[in-house]
């Protein structure tokens, strides 16, 4: 199971991201992508396909189909459950309508997997102003999730999500563009994973600890603000940077820093290298080891809610394919993107290693993320 609503918001947003280039509809294009994530005993792979087409001068429609094929033997699974395989599919439909300097975007997403179904609807408006130097946008999404549980046909829970966002993109000089984004995400309902457990000290069992199901609050509200900058260098290359601060009602505070450098080479190639650092504090009800059963009203041992940092290095190559005299597509590219990410936890212990309860080695792992895709513009 998963918090699919955020991914759904992503799918809508990817269809039409306002940029400081005036009010124009996105280009007609088609993308076919294969993705693979391999890290921490989990592999996730599958395709993603996007088609976007204008209808007249004022309307653009898009459709995306995305698949995750999950094979999981993560540390959570290995310590409290059995390895599993699962498939998630997601379909997205979007429509953008341009009226003068204003663009209206509507989206609907359906994500489905054996134990989780998520529906999301979204609406966004972006307005270009001040001679197209400034683009202001705001949007709203609402999601409805149905949560089930393998092996328990009586288990049926639900969650709703509301997302409010505001964006400002500003051209500051002939080389520098900056953006400010602010977002509130509010969740209500069953927000934990029905398969996850917390561990607590239990002197009655040989290994010294036992498990019980996690219990999360039924509401969560997070605030995030991010500042983004892109700078065109005196030669044909670009720098970009991003900082995000996040804080929520569960006590998680997080900082994200990203920097990147883009360098074209000859006419056919674009290379990009990037670095990303992320750090967060734990949720107030998180603990790797509770002192006893039912020690608190709310209890979590999800490493997503732990104190940790991650560092990622990304390498990206884009190759413009020769047109070979064909009328379509107007341009097409082959792309290979690779990311390597290291996760290091400060209060989540590796229970696969020996040790008395609470003294096991801290957990860390590396992940490799591959993307191979074709993009065509027509």
């Amino acid at each position: 199971m998963r918090a699919t609503h955020l991914w759904a918001i992503a799918a809508v947003a990817m269809a039409s991201i306002p940029a400081a280039r005036g009010a124009v509809l996105p280009d007609d294009r088609a993308d076919v992508l294969y993705h693979r994530y391999d890290g921490g005993g989990v592999t996730v792979e599958g395709p993603s396909m996007l088609v976007r087409k204008k209808i007249g001068d004022q309307v653009s429609v898009s459709a995306n189909y995305y698949v995750d094929m999950v094979s999981s033997a993560s540390i959570d699974v290995m310590t409290t459950a059995s390895p599993y395989k699962e498939k998630r599919t997601q379909g997205t439909l979007g429509i953008d309508i341009l009226n003068g300097n204003t663009q209206y975007s509507f989206g609907y997403i359906l994500s489905d997997e054996p134990d989780y179904t998520a529906n999301t609807a979204s609406f966004d408006v972006s307005q270009s102003m001040f001679g197209d130097l400034t683009t202001v946008s705001f949007g709203f999404s609402q999601g409805w999730d149905d949560i089930r549980k393998h092996g328990d046909p009586t288990f049926s829970k639900s969650a709703t999500h509301h997302d409010y966002r505001f964006g400002l993109t500003q051209i500051l000089t002939s080389r520098l563009m900056m953006g400010l984004n602010y977002e509130i995400v509010s969740d209500e309902g069953f927000l934990n994973n029905p398969y996850r457990s917390v561990r607590y000290l239990d002197p009655e069992v040989p290994k010294g600890y036992a498990y019980q199901p996690e219990v999360y609050p039924h509401t969560r509200t997070g605030n995030a603000v991010a500042l983004d900058a892109r700078y065109f260098l005196p030669f044909r290359a670009a720098l970009h940077g991003n900082y995000r601060y996040y804080k929520d009602t569960w006590g998680i505070a997080a900082n994200t820093i990203e920097i990147g450098y883009t360098q074209p080479w000859h006419r056919q190639w674009i290379f990009e290298v990037g670095y990303r650092w992320y750090g967060q504090s734990a949720a107030t009800f998180y603990s790797d080891l509770f002192p006893r059963a039912n020690a608190q009203n709310f209890m979590a041992r999800d490493k997503e809610l732990a104190t940790f940092t991650s560092q990622g290095l990304s390498l990206r190559a884009t190759y413009d394919l020769p047109r070979l005299g064909w009328k379509f597509p107007e341009r097409s590219t082959l792309n290979f993107f690779y990311d390597h990410i290291h996760y290091s936890y400060a209060d989540f212990r590796n229970l696969l290693e020996p040790g008395t309860p609470g003294t096991e080695p801290l957990y860390h792992f590396d992940a490799d993320v591959f993307q191979l895709f074709y993009s065509g513009w027509f």
Binding site: L6, Y37, Y84, N193, F373
Partner: protein, 75 residues
């Protein structure tokens, strides 16, 4: 209202107020750099959404990425 809310809204208002009644100081013919594909924040939208999804699944923070989100393979 939380501190981060106030900061974000104040920054947005200052930025917007600063632009009102101002002639565009970067003329259209001076914006060719922004038409270059290497300056596009949404150059690869399918890839961008995917990589944000990879992060969101494993991190507590979410939102304000200008796009994107996450959630799968998280157990």
């Amino acid at each position: 209202m939380r501190g981060v809310d106030r900061i974000a809204i104040a920054a947005a208002l200052v930025a917007m107020a600063g632009c009102s009644h101002v002639e565009p100081w970067v003329k259209p013919y001076q914006r060719q750099n922004f038409a270059d594909i290497i300056m596009a924040p949404d150059r690869d939208p399918v890839s961008g959404a995917y990589i944000e999804h990879v992060h969101d699944v494993r991190e507590g923070a979410r939102g304000a990425t200008g796009s994107h989100g996450g959630g799968c393979g998280c157990n």
